[in-house]
Amino acid sequence: MNTAENTSEALLSLKNISLSFGGVKALTDISFDIKKGEIRAIIGPNGAGKSSMLNVINGFYHPQEGEVWFNGNLRGSLKPHEIARQGIARTFQNIALFKGMSTLDNLMTGRITKMHANIFWQAIWKGKAEREELEHREKVEHIIDFLEIQAIRKTPVGRLPYGLQKRVELGRALAAESKLLLLDEPMAGMNVEEKEDMCRFVLDVHEEFGTTIALIEHDMGVVMDIADRVVVLDYGRKIGDGFPDEIRADQNVIDAYLGVSHD
């Protein structure tokens, strides 16, 4: 396999990632890549290491071994907010919105990496600070229209119902206009209609903004429908990687889901 060629077409590639917490191995020797413009699903039973995988990708956990290549560069030891600046945004399995702030402010915070007015201009609310605020407000309003959350623009998100909170969180991640969008179970706990809405949003985002998406999801129907390629984890190891049809037929994957004992 030619590494150079591989990284040039992939937006993100992970090579031989291993992560452990004081002796407990969370991820073992995992390699896969995410190509520009695709929807990549990560699936696996509970405790397989999916969320840990996302945490490695956005730099919240630092793997003991392995390399992360993003946008053609080998990533050094960066802090999560520096990685966000490079163009990775995400949502969380358990909603992690800023509960005391309004929907609008949550989305504006999503754009924080793109705002640069210094403290002096911010203090007097003139010049660059005011211009910037209006510019970004316009971008954010576009996302608000897109997600159909105009009515709750000024509501503190702590007061919103679960489904809407999930949508606002997606909005906050979208607001970052990232190169790579990580979605951690965006449809967990939703009913069928809400799931359909959410699927539509994910696909629309993908088409309208051309964003590359990595997605963790338990609902196989959804995964098989919207993902371009799927990677399967179990007990911190990669047990399958390929197009949805291949995964569906893969004996290892079926065993993992049906619970065949490991020898």
Binding site: P80, L97, K99, M101, M108, A123
Partner: protein, 358 residues
């Protein structure tokens, strides 16, 4: 019927983002400011200046400062008294070392020096949070007070260990010392309070304010979406300490005139300011003002009624006030954690929709 939002439509984002989106509010604030700047100076007397208005203004600045740190950034500090002392001693050293320095600059520089000290003691906030940090700020409180007590350089080796402000003038009118007219000290404080309240409002509604609130609401998520915790927390500490330093400098040089660190800036002051923002409203500029006024004036009122009116002994009234304050803190945290400011907002919202509540 007069207080309405309906029909007051915004056609651009700038109008939608202004501080007082409702026309009636804007008119009210304008009238209030005209009154404060052009009428009050002519009618203010010594009693109102010394016992009510100037202290409330000064405490409002301190409450604004702590509210930026605690209410907006979620970092609880019990070191407010110590930081006020830094502002006070900085202004003392500046006025005595540079007699020609303009008093406005003295106060501003005092705030700047306090900001630097604040950053120093804010460094632990990068690793610790919650009440761990609250305890760490106690170190600032006790260490700073000890320092000002023990190092003669800070009090110019005066025999009593106290610091006393020299008389300084602006445009020939004394603003510090015993010869300063009430209207001058009042206006001097008012200018600082109004200017810095506007700045606080601007900072908290923009990028910086959002990064503070993001850290407050969920620090891990904030970092992952791109808020740098280091700069967010340290800027909160710096700006908060700047305000508290301003307040300490004014408290000493304009209000007290002479001070001794343990008495004037003890731990009880740290609690007082914390209570102001809890009762006024965490994360509210307006709340900082009503909290400061409420917490300062409540004991004054009680003393006037009970000691002056009923002739009860002072120490007993003091104990009653302690109980009342403690009970109020618990009451507000249980019933309305957003304080008086939220009560005001809810009332306004109801009024705005009246008589059609749905």
């Amino acid at each position: 019927m007069f207080y309405r939002e309906s029909g007051d439509f915004k056609s651009n984002y700038a109008a939608d983002q202004q501080t007082f989106p409702i026309k009636f509010d804007r008119i009210g604030v304008a009238i209030f400011l005209v009154f404060a700047f052009f009428i009050v100076p002519f009618i203010i007397n010594d009693y109102w200046e010394k016992s009510i208005i100037v202290p409330v203004l000064v405490w409002s600045l301190a409450a604004l400062g702590l509210n930026i740190l605690t209410g907006y950034c979620g970092l609880v500090s019990l070191g407010t008294g110590g930081f006020m002392a830094v502002g006070a001693y900085a202004s003392y050293k500046l006025t005595t070392s540079f007699p020609e320095l303009n008093m406005f600059l003295v106060i501003l520089f005092s705030g700047g020096i306090t900001a630097l000290v604040g950053i120093l003691f804010g460094l632990p906030s990068l690793r610790i949070k919650g009440f761990y940090l609250a305890v760490a700020t106690l170190a600032a409180q006790f260490f700073l007070i000890w320092l000002f007590n023990k190092v003669p350089w800070f009090y110019n080796s005066s025999a009593s260990g106290m610091i006393t402000v020299p008389e300084r003038t602006i445009f020939g009118i004394a603003v510090t010392g015993s010869n300063s007219p009430p209207w001058a000290t009042y206006l001097f404080c008012l200018i600082f309070v109004v200017v810095f309240a506007v700045i606080a409002r601007n900072l908290t509604r923009g990028r910086l304010g959002r990064s503070w609130m993001a850290i407050r609401d969920m620090d891990i998520a904030a970092e992952i979406i791109g808020v740098a915790p280091l700069s967010a927390k340290l800027s909160a500490f710096a700006i908060s300490s700047f305000y508290i330093g301003l307040s300490g400098a004014l408290f000493f040089s304009v209000y007290l005139g002479a001070a001794e660190p343990t008495e004037a800036f003890g731990i009880d002051k740290s609690f007082l300011v914390l209570f102001m923002i809890i009762i006024g409203g965490l994360g509210s500029i307006f709340g900082s003002f009503i909290g400061a006024a409420f917490m300062f004036l409540l004991p004054v009122l009680f003393k006037n009624i009970m000691v002056g009116g009923f002739g009860w002994p002072t120490d007993m009234v003091q104990h009653l006030i302690f109980m009342l304050v403690g009970a109020l803190i618990m009451f507000f945290l249980i019933v309305e954690p957003h304080g008086l400011a939220q009560l005001w907002r809810v009332t306004k919202e109801k009024l705005r929709l009246w008589p059609f509540p749905h």
